[in-house]
């Protein structure tokens, strides 16, 4: 569940550079755009959709 296989390269929603998610990719996984270094969240896996990941909040951590 919540895993996608056989991925094609996608576009970074920030800079439109090519981003290749790992395989298999999971929903909520966070990737980094190799060009602009933006953090991207996998918000869907069938098909894979990337969005800018949320900014770190004050209470995030371990």
């Amino acid at each position: 569940m919540e895993k996608g296989d056989g991925l094609m390269a996608l576009s970074c929603p920030e800079c439109e550079s090519e981003v290749s998610p790992p395989e298999p990719v999971r929903q909520h996984e966070v990737l980094e755009c190799p060009d602009c270094r933006a953090e991207l969240e996998v918000i869907a896996v069938e098909p894979v959709v990337l969005a800018l990941a949320p900014e770190i909040e004050e209470d995030w951590g371990e």
Binding site: M1, E2, R26, Q27, H28, E29, V30, E41, V42, A53, P54, E57, E58, D59, W60, G61, E62
Partner: protein, 279 residues
């Protein structure tokens, strides 16, 4: 079925989900950002929950709600509430007789300025809630303290004004991260950095830390003091090698430790979770 609370899938969450997949454990990922609970209709289909939510407040309240519905959560809401607050954690550790750095607490930032000269430098001021060394500042003298504390006083949010200051302890640039699940020490690593903040989130390098009898005891006593669960316990050493418990992390990251200790960490983490939710 197990539920897994999260909103950000880090290396640790991936490893844990892969471990659940490997064992063919049925689970559902619950995104805490979209959950809604109707308190009069809390009939949930979960045997238990693994909480890996990165936001302390969302983790705490999600765990409270699931427990209210009769779903056991690892870690428990009580453990999350306690360990997510550095002051409450320190009080619990001191109550249990564990060594902690000397600590100064004031309820406004301004009140700390007058106390620090007698408390002594260097000291470290930290938010009571927060992680990854964020907003932690080392205070070297009165001048530095005044500047940092005036900035803290200007921060929005009343809880930021609760001022938690520790004596700076340690061989600069190194601390110990011990991982504990229940009554088992999973392992320990040194975290070494050029910066005094040794969080792996700040690119500290990990190396194997032997778990001798003293370290094992302090780790297990710490876990006992905060209640059953899986913890990342940060321990400081002073120049004489004496150990002090610094912090207890209720949703521990272990990617740095796994590089040294191997991939069995997720396996043992999941063992503990499954044991807890079936008992």
């Amino acid at each position: 079925m197990l539920s897994v609370l999260l909103s950000r899938l880090r290396v640790e969450e991936k490893a844990l989900l892969e471990e659940l997949d490997r064992r063919h454990v049925a689970y559902e990922v619950l995104d805490t950002r979209t959950l809604a609970f109707r308190l009069d209709e809390l009939d949930l289909p979960y045997q238990g929950a693994l909480c890996r939510e990165v936001s302390h407040h969302r983790a705490h309240y999600a765990a409270r709600l699931l427990e209210h519905a009769g779903v056991p959560v690892v870690n428990s809401a009580a453990a999350i509430a306690l360990c997510g607050d550095k002051l409450l954690t320190t009080l619990a550790l001191r109550r249990a007789g564990l060594p902690t750095p000397r600590t100064l607490v004031t309820l406004t930032a301004e009140a700390a300025i007058g106390e620090l000269p007698s408390f002594g430098y260097p000291a470290v001021v930290k938010p009571v809630v927060g992680s990854w060394g964020r907003l932690a500042a080392r205070l070297s003298d009165d001048e530095a303290a005044q500047g940092v504390l005036e900035h803290r006083a200007a921060l929005p949010g009343a809880h930021q004004h609760i001022t938690y200051i520790q004596q700076f302890v340690g061989r600069p640039g190194r601390d110990i991260r011990g991982l504990v699940a229940g009554e088992e020490v999973l392992g320990a690593v040194y975290r070494t950095a050029t910066h005094w903040r040794t969080n792996t989130a700040r690119d500290a390098v990990t190396s194997l830390c032997p778990v001798d009898a003293d370290l094992e005891k302090i780790l297990l006593d710490t876990a006992a003091a905060v209640g059953p669960g899986v913890y990342g316990i940060d321990v400081l050493e002073d120049a004489d090698g004496a150990l002090y418990v610094n912090e207890v992390n209720h949703t521990p990251e272990f990617h740095g430790a796994a590089e040294v200790l191997g991939t069995g960490l997720a396996d043992r983490y999941v063992n503990y979770v499954l044991d807890q939710v079936k008992s």
